[in-house]
Amino acid sequence: MFLLDILKKPPETLRGHLDDFIADTLARCTRCGKCYEACPMTRYSEGLSNADAKQVVSGVLDWLKQTPGNAESVAWLKVCTQSAKCADACPEGINAMKMVRVGQMSAMGSLGLPAEQAKLSGREAKDFFRVINAYSQTQMSAGQVEKWQR
């Protein structure tokens, strides 16, 4: 196994990286719930008022496995603000903040779940790049936009 790890090529695609991250997280996570317990945002969700930490984490891991997770896991994914407290709390050294984010991606349907099973929508604002380009016009010269942003 060790030799295989050494010989393994680094991923060349985002999906390849996510698959590696998911496999590593599923292998190492003990479902202890410390990440959830450290989260400063849970009080902002009614759906988490009586939630069991281990159950919530199990639900997030289900999302990583591309299986719809429980309602509590969806509630947690929704209130994540990337405070990183979860990452610091994990006794296994898992980047739990990234785990949650990849869980969000799965719950958006980005990893392959059918659209009808998706529970979250993407977070890109309407007209995002058109707005960015419009603001740029007001804050930079045409030459700066051309030189700095093309």
């Binding site: 695609t13 985002l14 990286h17 929704k78 603000t81 993407g122 058109r130």
Partner: protein, 281 residues
Amino acid sequence: MSASEKITFWYGCNVVRHGDIIHGAIALLEAVGIEVTPAGGAGYCCGTAKDGNLRAAEGMAKRTVEKFNAHGTGQVVSWCASCDRHMNGFMGEYTQPQFELSHFTQILHARRDVLAAKLTRRVERKVMLHRHFGFHEVDVNPLVEDLLRLVPGLTLVESGTAAPGHMCSALSRVPAALKDVTRGLCDEAVARGADTVATVFHSCHRLLCALEGSEPFKVVNYVNLLTESMGLEFHDDYKSWKLAGSEEAVIATVGRERVAAMGEKLFRESMLPELLKQPVK
């Protein structure tokens, strides 16, 4: 990094609302002896907002890394916490970056002795920093506080709180949390007698700058406090627009010609609502 080294300054996407921050940050980097290649906007997007479309996210990430590699500076200095996090946590994992990534605060802080000599103008303000605890890759709060302590005349009021998330934009998905943070910030600034709240990141500035209209303190990005001490002035257009008030006043402040150039429909549908939205506490 040596004094003569070149860097790519990756300012990001959403910060383009705040030209004062971008131009001020470039002036600060140049003031400490760095040759800057600015890069940002849609053409250098990290793709962090594309979690719902991984093919697009990957394409944007690869393109941006390839462009940075082509710059050949070997050093990319980020401004945005989201971009920095996305490069470290995702983009750099499946691309071949040929550069080191640092954060703007780290670069300035490492050269604070050089910077201090340039900060000659007194800035008579009592400043409290608006802090977050989510950007765990770089502990920016003490770095920025150290930089602000270099400014003659400026009194730094220690803040006892920090908001969750890496920037306020992350909180906007949980409106009750953003409201709590905003209220807490206002209460603390008043209690500590601050006349200025300094923002670190652009998204906090975007969401908080209009507090000036109702609170007894100014909201200024720390870059502008540093450049003010250098004798440079970069006007905060965005704050003027946010403080304008009515729809007509916003349009008049932005300027009808500029609105027309941006596209009246785009401005009214996708920009005006943001400019009219006020902080809630």
